[in-house]
Every structure is written in C-alpha cells, then in structure tokens.
C-alpha cells in the first residue's frame, strides 16, 4: 500500500534532476548563452492545431498557461539580439501517459547565426556531456522512410501512405491526412526501430514545417529545416532554423487557424506581439526545445515519466 502523499519518484531521481540542472547551466554559461525567465501566463496561445492550453483566470481575465517559451524568447531575440536559454515548466492540456505529463520541464535555447545543422551538433554536445559515450546518428527524414519503406515521404500521397500503413497499423483511417499517416508510421514503426543512442532526423516535409525555414535540399526538393532528436527511441527535442519572415509567419498562423476551424477545435488569440517583433526583425538563428524529464528518464533508466517527477498528474 503506497501512502497517498508519497512522491511518484524516488529521492535519487530528485537528486539526478538537481545535478542535471547544474550541468545544463554550466554548459550554457561556458558558451556565453544567457539564462532568461519568460512568462508562463499570457493572453495569447500558440497556433499549433494539436496543442491545447490549460486556461487560467485572473479576476475577469483569461490567461493561457504557455506550452513553450518560444514566442516570448523570440521577442527577447528581436529586442536584444543575444543567445538565450530558458529552463522551466510548460503546460499542455490532456497530455498524459507513460512519456507525457500535462506539466513538464522544457529546456529551450536559441543560437544567433546558427543553422539547424550547427544546432544539432550543439544538442549532441550537450547530450554527450551529461550521458558520456552516447552514440550519435544522423538521418534525413527521407532516408528514414526510404530505408524502411522505399518511399519518398516528400512525394508520398495520402492514399499511398494509408495503403502502406494498412498492413502495419490497425486503425480506423477515415479522414486522416498525409501528416497523420506520416506521424503514425513514425510513432508506430520507425521510432521503435531507431538504433540505441541519440538520433537526429532532419529535413522534414514542408507540411510539418511549423516555424522552420523552407529551403530546397541538394536534390531541389523543398524541405523544412527542422530536426527532431530521439534518445532511446523516444522523441527528445525539436529544433528549427528559425523562420524570420513576418509575412510568412502570419500565413502559417492563418493556416493553423484554418486547420483548427476545419476540425472544430477552439480558437485562441494569436500573439500579435510576436508578429510585431518579427516585423521589427528577428536575427537569423536556430532554436531547439528539449524535454528535460525524458532526458532524466534516459539518465536514470526510468520507464515512466512519473518516476522522474516529484508528483505526477495522478498525485496532484
């Protein structure tokens, strides 16, 4: 019988977290990256169709607990033009599972003058500094699909992906779009087959660009200069060579909102301050967000996120 007040993780994991925070801060201090705090409550929310806010009330005012420090950090980048990082809690409604908790700790950082390739190298340096000896692999999104399925994901149509997935994943596929099929193949088939260690997957399909620049690759195929880092078969970090074009940013916001409308999802206020900051000018930079709890899971051998938290969502 476990006491109802008891923490969800052992004391050694609290200690591992405290040590890791020290290592992370040392890593950035040595590289001249400034730690910043950002608001966790804001009057606007990200446009992502698949991220839902936890909503807070301050008197009559509706505020959104932020799902990432990204927009605030980009405003700081526009204002001061210096490399920054933030280590703190973020919030996403309804995300709960073996690897998810509705509030979790994100490490996000931006490097001025870097592109996504340079930032991947820095992520690898950070991970190998806290997990020495971790093998590091690099794989383009196209290679990933070509090796497993002999299919070019940049050219694949919804029907082809659905047909490919049909023999592999049992699901009612009605109404699933290209991105959903790509994500299903990634999460169900490709992620579990990744080699041990740290794997970077880069050059995403433009339909999954989010806030990354779109640039033609060496075959002339436009790709999103976005990468994901996987550690031990688990999604760990997501990075971009950042979009700096305010008009293009507004178009992507509007496209996200259209997706939300089409799916009957709620609409939240857009961050006009971010758009204003981009209009003033965001320096060319790359940025990445890394799930600290998942990194701790790898460092401690925990199989559930609850084991690296003081109190997971079932205990609060």
């Amino acid at each position: 019988m476990v006491d109802a007040f008891a923490p969800s993780g052992p004391r050694e994991h609290l200690l591992a977290r405290a040590v890791l925070y020290g290592q992370l801060r040392d890593f950035f201090a040595a590289r001249g990256v400034l730690e910043v705090e950002t608001p966790q409550l804001a009057t606007s929310f990200v446009s992502d169709p698949f991220i839902e806010p936890i909503i807070a009330k301050s008197g009559e005012q509706t505020l959104y607990l932020q799902s990432s420090p990204e927009y605030a950090m980009k405003r700081l980048l526009a204002a001061y033009g210096e490399c920054i990082y933030a280590l703190g809690k973020v919030f996403r409604a309804g995300e709960r599972g073996r690897r998810h908790n509705p509030e979790f700790t994100l490490l996000e950082w931006y490097r001025i003058g870097f592109d996504d390739r340079q930032l991947m190298a820095e992520v690898a340096a950070l991970i190998t500094s806290v997990l020495p000896g971790t093998p590091v692999h690099y794989l383009s999104y196209r290679q990933w699909f070509m090796q497993a399925f002999a299919l070019d994901p940049h050219q694949a149509h919804q029907a082809q992906l659905q047909q490919l997935a049909a023999g592999l994943i049992e699901i009612d596929g009605s109404g699933l779009d290209t991105n959903a099929w790509l994500d299903l193949l990634v999460t169900h088939i490709l992620e579990p087959q990744l080699p041990t260690g740290l794997t970077f997957v880069y050059d995403y399909p433009i339909s999954q660009a989010a806030l990354a620049r779109i640039v033609p690759d060496d075959t002339g195929q436009p790709v999103a200069r976005r990468f994901e880092a996987f550690l031990g078969g688990m999604e760990l970090a997501n990075g971009y060579w950042e979009l700096t074009d305010a008009a293009e940013q507004r178009r992507r916001f509007e496209a996200d909102l259209a997706t939300r409308r089409a799916r009957n999802l709620p609409q939240y206020p857009l961050d006009e301050n971010l758009l204003a900051a981009l209009e003033q000018g965001l320096p060319s930079c790359a940025g990445v967000a890394l799930g600290v709890d998942r990194l701790l899971m790898q460092m401690t051998g925990a199989s559930r996120i609850a084991e690296v938290l003081s109190f997971d969502s079932s205990r609060v």
């Binding site: 991105n179 959903a180 999954q208």
Partner: protein, 190 residues
Amino acid sequence: MATYSINDFRAGLKVMLDGDPCNIVENEFVKPGKGQAFNRVKLRNLTTGRVWERTFRGSESLDGADVVDREMEYLYTDGEFWHFMDPTTFDQFQADKKVVGDQYKWLREQDKCTVTLYNNAPLAIAPPNHVELEVVETDPGLKGDTAQGGTKPATLTTGAVVKVPLFMNIGDVVRVDTRTGEYLGRAAKE
C-alpha cells in the same frame, strides 16, 4: 451502458469493439510534440481470446460492454451444457462447449468458479486456481518409491491427465494448479 472516451481507457475496462466484448489490457498515449494524439490500445477479445493492438484517435470513444464476473457454484453437466448457480440469487446459467472449452477438465461439482457474463449469458468460465481431484487411472504405484524426479501420467475423475509422482495410486486425491495443469501435491482422501 456507459460510453468511454479513449483517454479513460485503463487496464480491465470492458468495451465493445467490432461487435465483440473486449478487455483493455494496456493503453499507451502516443503524441509527437507537434502532431496529432493517438492511443495504442492492447485489447483481448473476450469471445475469441485473441489479444491485439489497435490505434485510436483521442477523439474516439467506445461503448462499455455489459460484462461482469460472478462467483458461482458448478452444479453438473448433462453432456451438452455445464450448469452453474449464483449462490446468492440462486440464478442458474448454462454454458456450452464453446464457452467452457478445455476448462471442463477442472470442474468438480460444488466447486466455486468465476463465470464471466456478457449480456447476462456465460461468456467464459474460470475454475478455482487449485482443485482437488481423484485419480481414476494410472500405472501401479511403486511402494516406498518417494525419490525425487520420477513422474507418470494419471487420469483424474474429470478426464484431465496430469503428471504425478510414481508413488501415486488409483483412488488417491491430487491437488492441481488449473492454470498450468501442474501437480501440486497429494490431498487428503474424502
């Protein structure tokens, strides 16, 4: 019956899927940071016993299945049906060969069994974990041979065949684990 949203799925919940009652074995939340949420659910089809994995979208929901486990007393078999009684309500239920399957060989009259009812009809039965049954057929015992290791087949009153030590004789009562079919020991004769 209630309707359950996929996010409420937890091990042990009984739901209807493709017209069959199913037991949720495991539910894993899967969501790429920027992508759509899915649940990879492992289910056991309670009609066929098959365990399989199915992926759902977070927005989906399923109807609950009217499946309950009840403690009942096994009464007798008439050759075609096995008859059970709920000792509190005295309700009687009959289960056919499809429902009873291989478990018939562990059913001893008046033993307490778990009967799984689906829409108030038996769907599956589970005998007690341990039963005591008499040996009706086996090779003659070797007097004084209590050495370790040697076994021989023995047929029990219900027709079950289990491996027993060499010293066991016809008329002896054995204790058996019904989940593995293993001999556990000699029981006192009735």
